[in-house]
Symmetry: C2
Subunit: 473 residues, 2 copies
């Protein structure tokens, strides 16, 4: 009947080229130190190396691998380099990479339970494992009224928390235009972005003052809430941060949570990077009061050896989240969903489709074990403590925030320009990359230690470079 047509690329091609690709990745990870950490590319340089049109005929796989070496590697900032101390770590690891590979091979869409039960149930179980491993409140477990879900990022988790908070407030008959959102001046920009996306009035997003440790001042929060109540507005949601991006400040969750309870405002806690530290019982002081939170998020893709994207988002009452995000058209109806016995994660997130992201997390937790993860975090904290110590002991530098976990904020006593030049000189060596922020109006260098391959000799090297390049006070 038909004229048959064979496919161009077969499973045997995948086997053959896949081994070469695995070798390419393993070779890359073995040679990370040979690349300048920060790309030295100028704008447009990569684009100029590419043809202006897609090819008409298939190219051999060799050409792709060659272009990875010729075009991609020289144009890449090497987040996996052990000399990467910028922003926050991008915590990839061999088991997570292979988990991603299996997920790509299965290529299921876990939008509802029925479209891949394993995708949904492994996610639920693994997120429950993390509640125990991190000592999170039991109300975030799926056996309670709550539960966890993987989002792509803390930005999306914050947005979902804001949407659930908005839904709860509007079911109480508040108008969107009257709802207020509170976060600290030190909170991540994704809170303001999420509030804008969710339609909260930018005029009603309050950036609450922080104290000298860059933690939200609960008295300032209380005052802002009172002022809004007096103006007839409705306090809807507070986003507290456990470990701010700039300086690892910890908002006082218990005080904030008690206020939220009294005001019936939703409390979301963003622990994007710092949350992973809670695998170690001695690093859980940040959790004090967390049982008062309505939702919580942290990113294993930042510091728990799991490739981006993997943000773990927990809610204490899943009904509010689902009410905010569920719409069921006929073509997605199925017996399992209507039975109420399953989770359909499409109702826990903004997009409909979803990859099998739990696989990489499952692989990581099993490949390292709880003990391996604790060892990983403790080593970075130990290296960070050492680094903080040598910086603090040197008269050329001053610390700019209380050092905490894996982050040190410091500046040259010579001021902003000297600090900025030092950072620029450090990054120009190609051996390290650090980024900056401003704290109390001053230019500050951040050293964040959390890379999968970062060991003591890399932190020692960083200090030697700083010591060489920093001018006298």
């Amino acid at each position: 009947m038909f004229s048959s047509e064979s496919f161009l690329v077969t499973p045997e091609d995948l086997r053959h080229h896949g081994r070469r690709t695995i070798d390419w990745v393993a070779d890359y990870l073995s040679s990370l130190e040979s690349y300048p950490v920060l790309a030295k590319t100028v704008p447009g340089e990569i684009a100029a190396m590419l043809p202006r049109s897609a090819p008409e005929e298939p190219e051999p796989f060799e050409a792709l691998l060659a272009d990875l070496d010729r075009i991609v590697l020289p144009g890449t900032t090497h987040w996996q380099s052990p000399g990467f101390f910028g922003f926050f770590p991008a915590s990839a690891s061999p088991p997570a990479i292979l988990g991603e590979l299996v997920a790509a091979g299965l290529a299921v869409n876990g939008m509802v339970w029925a479209t891949s039960p394993a995708c949904t149930e492994i996610e639920t179980v693994v997120l429950d494992w993390l509640v125990e491993l991190l000592g999170l409140p039991v109300r975030f477990r799926s056996q309670s009224q709550g539960g966890g879900v993987i989002q792509d990022s803390a930005s999306s988790a914050t947005l979902c928390a804001l949407l659930a908070a908005r839904e709860r407030a509007m079911r109480g008959n508040a108008a969107l235009a009257d709802l207020c959102v509170y976060t600290s001046v030190e909170a991540h920009s994704s809170v303001q972005k999420g509030a804008r996306v969710a339609g909260f009035s930018p005029a009603h997003t309050r950036l609450v003052a922080a104290d000298e440790t860059f933690a939200m001042d609960p008295a300032a929060l209380e005052s802002a809430v009172r002022t809004d109540r007096e103006a007839g507005l409705v306090p809807c949601c507070v986003v507290a941060t456990a470990g701010t991006t700039s300086s690892m400040g910890f908002d006082p969750i218990r005080a904030i949570g008690e206020l939220c309870r009294a005001e019936q405002a939703w409390l979301h806690v963003d622990a994007a990077m710092a949350g992973s530290a809670a695998v170690c019982p001695e690093l859980r002081s940040q959790h004090d009061g967390l049982e008062l939170a309505d939702s919580y998020a942290f990113n294993p893709h930042k510091w728990l050896l799991t490739n981006f994207d993997c943000d773990c988002f927990y809610v204490a009452d899943r009904a509010s989240l689902i009410d905010a995000l569920s719409i069921t058209p006929e073509y997605l109806r199925n017996d399992a969903s209507e039975s109420g016995a399953v989770i359909d994660y499409r109702d826990w997130q903004v997009p409909l489709g979803r990859r099998f992201r739990a696989l990489k997390l499952w692989f990581v937790l099993r490949s390292y074990g709880g003990e391996g993860l604790r060892r990983h975090v403790r080593e970075h904290v130990r290296l960070s403590d050492w680094f903080t110590g040598v910086v603090a002991a040197d008269p050329r530098f001053e610390l700019c925030a209380p050092p905490a976990l894996n982050l040190t904020c410091f500046r040259h006593v010579g001021g902003d320009e000297v600090s900025e030049r030092l950072l620029s000189d450090l990054n120009a060596t190609g051996r390290v990359f650090l980024s900056h922020t401003r704290l109390a109006g001053r230019y500050v260098i951040r050293c964040c230690i959390g890379g999968t391959w970062t060991a003591e000799r890399h932190v020692e090297m960083l200090w030697r470079l700083i010591d060489e390049l920093a001018p006298a006070p």
Copy 2:
């Protein structure tokens, strides 16, 4: 100084276990037909096979691979099976899988240009390639005022379009509470969800009537817009669909676009699945009027051999999108961004972080070439035409919508119950999976042909099963 601690999992472990994982994926793809397409799992079955806690000690990689066979495969709906004709295809392919693997290995975060220039520039170039390959309006190219970006899903693309539309209207001093969104009754549920997320009043989201081909009726749209204007409301955004989810209806883009121009409303066109067909010049009639659209999205992850997540989202004027989504905190400031010479894709999407998703698309376009992609799409259209023909010629069945591209909607003439039982019996064979919808109130079976491994013998098998299982009229 330090006590050194070696890492648990090395690049050499990745090489060794990676080869076995590649073999596992290649073996899986070689044996797809041996699995029942739809998982036969009952709720809770997978969860019950997993331990209640994460392990304390590392498990060997063998245990992970064994559990893929023991737990994951029996609990998975096999979207890659050549017998998968449900929902829409999840278009994975060997080059895309290997592109994902390389992206996981590099593990860069392309949030801004400087954090990985190659991640940004390859994305821009590849999305420009697609403008040419699909014959899209040149205003969507990055050299114009517009440009393309990869989103995770068409849901997120629709949300971004709504946010840009909202921003443009509100800069014109309209109030959010007065803004109206229009889409057809046949549009994907993500339009209503996106409008809710973006804070549009659900009372101002209009589901416009469709005609007998399930395309939006432009006269009904015009009437709805006029009514809203008369009520003092502001028509903000129309989301038109090129290929509806239920039945592949095509909204008349030119007529809708002209109305949008006159009303200064944003026009977004959602071509999630059908858009890929435009690689073939003879399948581009859906584009008529597309130069009037402000934004456009289609999903290579549906029908263009690229793993989820890969939605290509284009805007004609990137300023509106960036205005809606840009917030720049100090810690993300950098020279390249401030020069204005680069694209920072974080301002084109809701999340901050982003994977190097362009790699898989680059690998696909180069591995198949334009000609290979056209052959792929044409083969599915040819198979779909054949299938439609045999269904239409059989007195037991009637077509329920104009057959188009790769989708056939049909029902048993015996009515809803007979059709529903037939679908259930078909899926129970384990050899195929189809899904359903409702059109004009009636239960309809959908056959969507677009799987990477689906060839003529699988469509013939599907027809044989239907022929065997369907009762006489």
